[in-house]
Amino acid sequence: MTCYFRTMTVPAQRHREEPPAAMSLRGLVKHFDTKLAVSGVSLDVPAGSFYGLLGPNGAGKTTTLSMAVGLLRPDAGQAFLQGYDVWADPAAAKARLGVLPDGVRLFDRLTGPELLAYHGLLRGMDAATVDQRARELLDVLELSSAGRTMVVDYSAGMRKKIGLACALLHAPRLLVLDEPFEAVDPVSAARIRDILQRYVAGGGTVIFSSHVMEVVERLCSHVAILSDGVLRLHGTLGAVRGDRSLEEVFVQVVGGRVGTGSELAWL
């Protein structure tokens, strides 16, 4: 069955583009009741890029990424991961994918090591590899000391870290991270940045959402700005930013208010 689908979906990969996109979205649309959450997002994430998805709260970042990784069925449009259609051939598309969803629970009645072992075995890895990598990840992310504490009792930052460890465990070629730096303390954030930068240097692709300009400006090779479910601007960091700061571009594109200095004068 897999072979059948492969012959069907491989042509969808566009050979004329070099290198092939690690993720490409084609006209994704999603309604919630009457509200249009995402309207026609098309985006190519080149392999080996560090891609930042920017947007204010409620812009549709999480909805877009959920549709891209096969957690949310789009009303229209397609999503390809490494050339495989997520909705036509989910097994192949998800095989080399690591996801850190936001606002989604973990299996939090397991301890950290149990959760990692669970994810590893679920991905079909052999026990010895799971053990070795899980120990290393726990060590690097400073989660080894949590011992028998269940994930439900972890702090928000620890939860983000164990979620990231679960996404990294099977050494995916594409990482999709939703708000990976939210609620993470500066020390852990630096550790995570370091891990992600090395991962990209080693040929991996990261796409992550954020609304913190500094982090995006520091890490990303590419950015896309999303607001009200529409992709406003995308490209390499240099092309999007021009000679201004990313924050200026972002506020202008999103259409936020610029302070005149006269309001709230009583403060």
């Binding site: 299996f107 009645r109 397991l110 090591p113 075995l121 053990d131 009583w266």
Partner: protein
Amino acid sequence: MALSPAANSEGPAANSEGPAANSEGPAANSEGPATKNGSPMPFVRLKLRLIANGLRGRPGRIALFVTGVLVSGIFAVAGYAIFAVPGVLDDGRAAATLLPLGGSALVLGWVVLPLVFFGVDESLDPARFALFPLRRRTLIAGLFTAALVGLPALATLVATAGTVSTAAQLGGGGAALVQFAGIVAGLLLCVAVSRSVTSAFATGLRSRRSRDLAVVLLAVVAALLGPLQLAVLAGLERADWEAFGTVARIAGWTPLGAPYSIGLDVAAGRAWAVPVKLLIVGAAIAGLLWWWSATLERAMLGAAASGRGGEAAETGSPVDRLVGRLLFGRRLPATRFGALVGREVRYWLRETRRRAALITFTVVGLFLPVSVSMSGGSPGLMGGFVGALAAVALANQFGYEGSAYAANMTAGVPGRTEIHSRAAAHALFTVPLLMVVAIVVALVSGRPEGLAAQFGGLVAAYGVGLGVVLPVSVIAAYALPETTSPFALSSGGGAAKGLLTLGAMLATVVVSVPLQVVAFFLGDVWLWLGLPAGIAYGCAAYLIGSGVAGDLLDRRMPELLAAVTPGR
């Protein structure tokens, strides 16, 4: 933010006025000028305003409110009638029994009901006043007075007014006046006891662990209600009225019954008892208010998690911890299926709602067949019911862990693997339990030779139950509230789907009937055939049902995830 110099110079002055304005109490914001001397009236106005605002433009809420008014009215009238009966009959002895005992029951009701419906009315949750610079005495007085304003207090006052009528009939105007003082004191006691217990409870439930424990205890209590009811009924049959009279006399001297018996004391010529009993009640109220005030501060901090240090590091590799040392020291294979089953088993042991479901099923599963076979009924049909009941625990299996199911989706777990693993983990707990049920039933009914057939019947019903329930769990999953509060109820949408569960249970019993019919006609042959036939029947039903469920799941994964994610 850039501030102009002029704004800066005005800043401190404005700030210095801030706290003074705040000290007028929370109602100052909505109600205009409030008194500065700690009057409780702002709290009362705040509560009334909250009730009114809650009703504005919401027909559903208004209907609920009207229902509440009706129920309170019925309660009040019925209570008044019951308490007034001894007076109408002019029966002093009945009054001396009914008033203290009925009053005590009422006070206990005020303790228990807020706990059961904890979290329903949080309009004046102390945690909301945490940021206001209020003196504790002001806060206590305000919250106490606000709690007196409301349907329950009014209904209680009207209901207990029946005792005034009885006192008037038995002892004239003086007794009635004293009894009236008694019911007012009783009402104060009711409110004080319910507020202080709620507050202490909120403090006690701050950590996840104690909340988990509370859920389990609640499940045990709920499961024991049936057996307890029978025990109480059996006890009542044997009880004599003398014993009740003694209990009532003792209750009359406790804070619970004292406020409701002082009018009778006057009528019986024991006027000296009145000040003593009022003192008892007054001391009880004062003590409760003191306790409340002590726990209030901690309750105001809310459910802020207190950080616990990491516990002792566990030995063993991560994989061993997941799939090793399971039930009975068995090991699961270190595969995808093993991981799924290992996780499920841990969830049945660790997740409160699942643990509660297991406990409830254990108690009911043992109690029902035993009581039926003791009363001479057919344990066979009851076995079908118990097997179905076991499977019903899986009717909303995806709702238990909510959006965490996303992990299995991104890992690409096929639908059938998912379904099989969940059923296997549940069977690890259920099948041994069914065996125990079969043994107990065989012993109680005095037919040990029927053990194997009984077990076969149970397994058949369980298998059929799974076959029916598993597809339902995929189609009709619904989100459970994410809170860990033991008293949080699933709101709205779940109710209709809960009905579907009931339907699934009925369907299970119906599908199990052919086996029962065959068993009935085969008679003694069934004692030998029952076990293999039951297992075969159950397995066949399970295979069909799980296959359907697995294929449904493959098609509906995103929809299922959306259905079990709360707040969508």
